[in-house]
């Protein structure tokens, strides 16, 4: 058919179905089929392991294709920003809803870790903590005449250092540890550095509404929201990292898990204590005057 056509005329290629009619045995690949195949083997238990194995292979293949650009070029980082608005939204929601058997990295991040979420969630949290801490201090000291309002911009730097080191250095340490254990004990599941950073970055997103709640100067409410945020983000992290370490010795697994939990608790309680202390300066000046009285007593 081709040779009777005018070479300068635009050639329309036929639809896939009509081409298939000619050669019925031709192999076809349909993108939807791949996803259906994976979804059929979804619910927990032993099937999850096979599923993860299969995904591991795919992850290795696909990540091999992506590593072409050297890390000092712009294109290398562009592949970490390949997310849409709805994907970011679903990742944030998934990071605060722990579901037994569903792994955050497996479900949302696999094969497409992004840097947008971790970076901007950390930036938002830094400014949210600084602003809400300032507001809560203002509200606590509203009645006292000695209080002079200051904006406390120095605290932004402190908050930024704390949050960015938690969100980037802890994943680095965890990744290094998992890499080391992988050389000793064969694990079925391995996470890349970017995926761990993703998990930690998105897990911080629960603290943004918690921090806004801490403006209200009620101790009970504050502690309740601290505990709630801790439980949610901690359980998501635990569920995510359990498959990566469960094949190891039981002591190593428990030490690993408890490190994650302890660091999370330290972060939350540290924020609350440093930025949202509910002592008013009225009480603080009382304490310091009591101290000077006691010190001056021996002289009298």
């Amino acid at each position: 058919m081709a040779n009777t056509k005018d070479p300068f005329e635009f050639q329309e290629f036929e639809e896939a179905e009509s081409l298939l009619e000619e050669t019925r045995d031709a192999t076809t690949i349909n993108i939807d089929d791949v996803n259906e195949f994976r979804n059929q083997r979804r619910p927990g238990g032993d099937e999850v392991e096979e599923d993860l194995l299969a995904n591991d292979d795919k992850a290795e293949l696909l990540s091999g294709q992506r590593k072409n650009a050297p890390f000092w070029t712009f294109d290398y980082y562009q592949k970490f920003f390949d997310v849409d608005t709805c994907q970011v939204r679903s990742r944030i929601i998934g990071s605060v809803l722990p579901w037994r058997g569903k792994n955050f990295i497996e479900l949302y991040v696999r094969r497409n870790p992004d840097l947008y979420g971790p970076f901007w969630i950390c930036a938002t949290l830094v400014f949210a903590i600084a602003i809400c801490g300032n507001l809560s201090k203002f509200l606590v000291n509203l009645g006292s005449p000695n209080y002079k309002y200051t904006a406390e911009f120095g605290k932004v730097t402190i908050a930024a250092t704390a949050i960015y080191s938690y969100a980037w250095l802890v994943p680095l340490a965890l990744w290094g540890f998992l890499l080391w254990r992988n050389s000793k004990v064969m694990n079925l599941v391995t996470y890349s550095f970017m995926e761990i950073v993703c998990a930690y970055g998105y897990s911080l997103s629960i603290y943004i509404p918690a921090v806004v709640l801490w403006i209200i100067p009620s101790e009970g409410l504050r502690w309740f929201s601290v505990v709630l945020a801790l439980c949610l983000s901690g359980s998501v992290l635990l569920l995510t990292f359990w498959p990566a370490i469960k094949d190891d010795h039981i002591r190593v697994s428990i030490a690993f898990m408890s490190t994650i939990v302890v660091l999370n608790v330290l972060l939350a309680v540290g924020f609350k204590a440093y930025f949202f202390s509910s002592e008013s300066p009225h009480q603080q000046t009382n304490n310091s005057s009591v101290v000077t009285l006691v010190q001056s007593k021996p002289h009298s």
Partner: protein, 228 residues
């Protein structure tokens, strides 16, 4: 032979192809002011300094007017310059000085801090929008973000004037309203220019950092407390 005839027949139709006269063809062939300094015969060395300065000032003023009445304009994006953002940044940083200075350093932001926040913030947002696949160029984006600080600078001037009359609750409410309005205006103006250059399903991802940026600047303006 039959094929040659066939191909020449295909070309016959081309002779009456023409652009119909009722499709308007428009464009702007003026070059951006900075490039005229370089070469091509017409040099600005021969004209009075006043003309050179006035031309640049007119370009800057034109962009200020565009921020006041934001509507999409390709010409504005193409002729970027960074004089306006520099002017606004220095003005804002100077106005934020003279806050309550205690012996401890927990006061307002220092001059250098404001500078760093504005320029570093604009840089990060520009990088973010380029990484997400935006088609706007680097300096165009810096230009737009810098010029859209203008409503917030105006709000700072208004706040300082209001604070001259006292710093009670009424003045706080007035300042809050002014800062909120100018923050909304800044965000709206910059998204009017920036949002078009982004892919459709990522617009919110690009607009959110801009929102955060102007929110932080608005917070700095609102919490400015003068020395007493």
């Amino acid at each position: 032979m039959a094929e040659a005839d066939g191909s020449s027949r295909a070309f016959l139709g081309l002779s009456d192809v023409s652009i119909s006269e009722d499709i308007p063809v428009e464009g702007d062939i003026s070059m951006p002011p900075t490039s005229s300094l370089q070469d091509d015969g017409f040099s600005t060395l021969d004209e009075p300094v006043k003309d050179t300065v006035l031309r640049d000032l007119k370009a800057v003023g034109n962009k200020f007017v565009h921020v006041l009445y934001p509507k999409k304009s390709k010409a504005l994006l193409r002729d970027w310059d960074l004089w306006g953002p520099l002017l606004l940044c220095v003005t804002l940083a100077l106005l934020l000085q003279g806050g309550s200075v205690d012996s401890k350093d927990d006061g307002g932001p220092q001059f250098a801090e404001v500078f760093v926040i504005i320029w570093f913030g604009s840089l990060i947002i520009t990088l973010n929008s380029k990484l997400l696949g935006g088609t706007i160029s680097f300096f165009q984006s810096l230009c737009v973000l810098g010029y859209c600080i203008m409503p917030l600078t105006v709000a700072m001037v208004v706040c300082r004037i209001v604070l001259l009359g006292g710093s009670g609750t009424v003045s706080f409410v007035v300042r809050l309203v002014v800062v909120c309005a100018s923050f909304g205006w800044s965000t709206f103006a910059s998204t009017a220019f920036l949002a078009d250059s982004q892919p459709q399903n990522r617009k919110a991802l690009v607009v959110y950092p801009v929102f955060l940026f102007y929110f932080v600047i608005g917070w700095m303006i609102l919490t400015f407390a003068p020395a007493q």
